[in-house]
Subunit: 272 residues, 2 copies
């Protein structure tokens, strides 16, 4: 028995998806077909959404679950007419918040278009360009500007982490790979030595590293378990010798790696 879950929003729907998904995974024995309905910001679009929800209700023979983050009162009212089980994510918390804060909320939509949001956007894009320009040791002359410099062996997760930190938090993250020669000599690259306070090391289980490298260069020395074992062992030794804070990324998503690094280093987000 499959049921449809709708994530409905007057914006991107990303918050409705994140929260709805967090709730749905708590019901592992139920099967859901997931549908996102973004930009439902007029009565007309709301009516179309209601029609779609009601169709799913008939097809499934089960009431759809509708997670929504619509703020606008009229749109919200229209949506509530659907046959779905309505989870009004923002509305539910507005009353207790108004009571606590002692003021009424403003029901604005298009919130991300504010001037503050624009400044954040620029900061995020600037940080992302920084990550791309300073990826994989491409340049190190801008390390003065960096908030953090990730290091580690090839394919230990440096680039995705840098880009995620830029996009989500506006953090300027560079990354610099540690090569086999440097591992052999147990010598931190010069580009890093002068910015030692900013360095954070990533490490990864050798078995996992071998799988990832095999996707890039199958059956090569580079992707052999022997080579991966050697590199990981040496880089972890280097981290300990040089007292570089580090994290094993094996079991973590890119979000988790990023937030853990921020927690461990105390680096603050640059945007809100």
């Amino acid at each position: 028995m499959k049921r449809t879950a709708f994530f409905l929003s007057d914006g991107t729907g990303i918050t409705a998806e994140a929260l709805g998904q967090s709730l749905l995974v708590l019901f592992p024995n139920c099967e859901f077909e997931r549908v996102t309905l973004p930009y439902i910001d007029t009565i007309e679009k709301a009516r179309e959404a209601v029609a779609r929800i009601n169709r799913a209700c008939e097809t499934d023979g089960l009431r759809p679950i509708v997670f929504d983050t619509v703020v606008n009162g009229e749109v919200q009212q229209e949506i509530r007419r659907s046959k779905g089980c309505m989870i009004d994510i923002l509305g539910t918390f507005l009353k207790p918040l108004e009571a606590e804060l002692g003021v009424r909320s403003t029901c604005t939509t298009g919130r991300s278009h504010s001037i503050a949001a624009k400044a954040y956007y620029e900061k995020r894009i600037e940080a992302m360009n920084f990550a791309l320009d300073n990826d994989d040791g491409a340049r190190s002359r801008y390390y003065d500007e960096a908030d953090i410099i990730l290091t580690g062996v090839s394919r230990s997760g440096k680039t995705p982490t840098c880009i995620y930190m830029a996009l989500q938090y506006g953090i300027k993250a560079a990354n610099f790979p540690i090569t086999e020669d440097e591992l052999h000599d147990q010598r931190l690259p010069d580009a890093l030595r002068t910015h030692k306070r900013k360095i954070f090391g990533l490490t990864i289980d050798p078995e996992r590293l071998a799988i990832i490298r095999n996707e890039r260069k199958p059956n090569s020395r580079y992707s052999s378990i022997k080579q991966c074992n050697y590199e990981v062992e040496e880089v972890e030794l280097m981290y300990r010798r040089e007292r570089i804070p580090h994290l094993n990324s094996t079991d973590y998503s890119v979000e988790e790696i990023s937030t853990r690094i921020m927690m461990m280093t105390g680096i603050e987000r640059q945007i809100r």
Copy 2:
């Protein structure tokens, strides 16, 4: 009068931040100091969090607002002892969901470590590597694999959008710049012509483009308003002539651009 808002979670805190932030912006006249407390997944960490919340309560002279997405019952119970105004984001909706679904929820933490999450992680990283490898027309021999190919003039937002679509949705997005020569001849690049169904065009207001380009190359021909006007006019003409679906990205965040492209093209997310 400043009040502290806490985003508290047994995971990254990203969902608590997203929802809490969506609610706080509805109170534009209140000033909040925002603090994220991620990975509160033991009783001990919960007690430390409570102490921190209570300290803020004393310092501010106002009850902090605490948005939390903790699922674990014992941790949740401990947190509830704080002096903050508690917004229990997941717990609030669990009862109505259990009633509707007719089953009890499982109170699992560390949800993102599941096998499914691992597969998603790989898909996202694979998509991101695809975006990086196929950035700025660097290669076009993998366009068969692409879900979408973004095009547009230099600095119209192609790269950030590609990377965001990869990270958030696991979509393989390449991007290809349109050069001045091609604009002049009103000729779609050959690399794109063979994949016309996959092309999506970005455009941007010339004034905004000039500002962005000026940050990269100040006072150059490239960043002059005259040049930006010319390029934008020609590229929009090309989109219309070639019937390429397109979007003006000027007023949108990277999240909004991505979700709008998906809506306009019907491209589906590759991960859940």
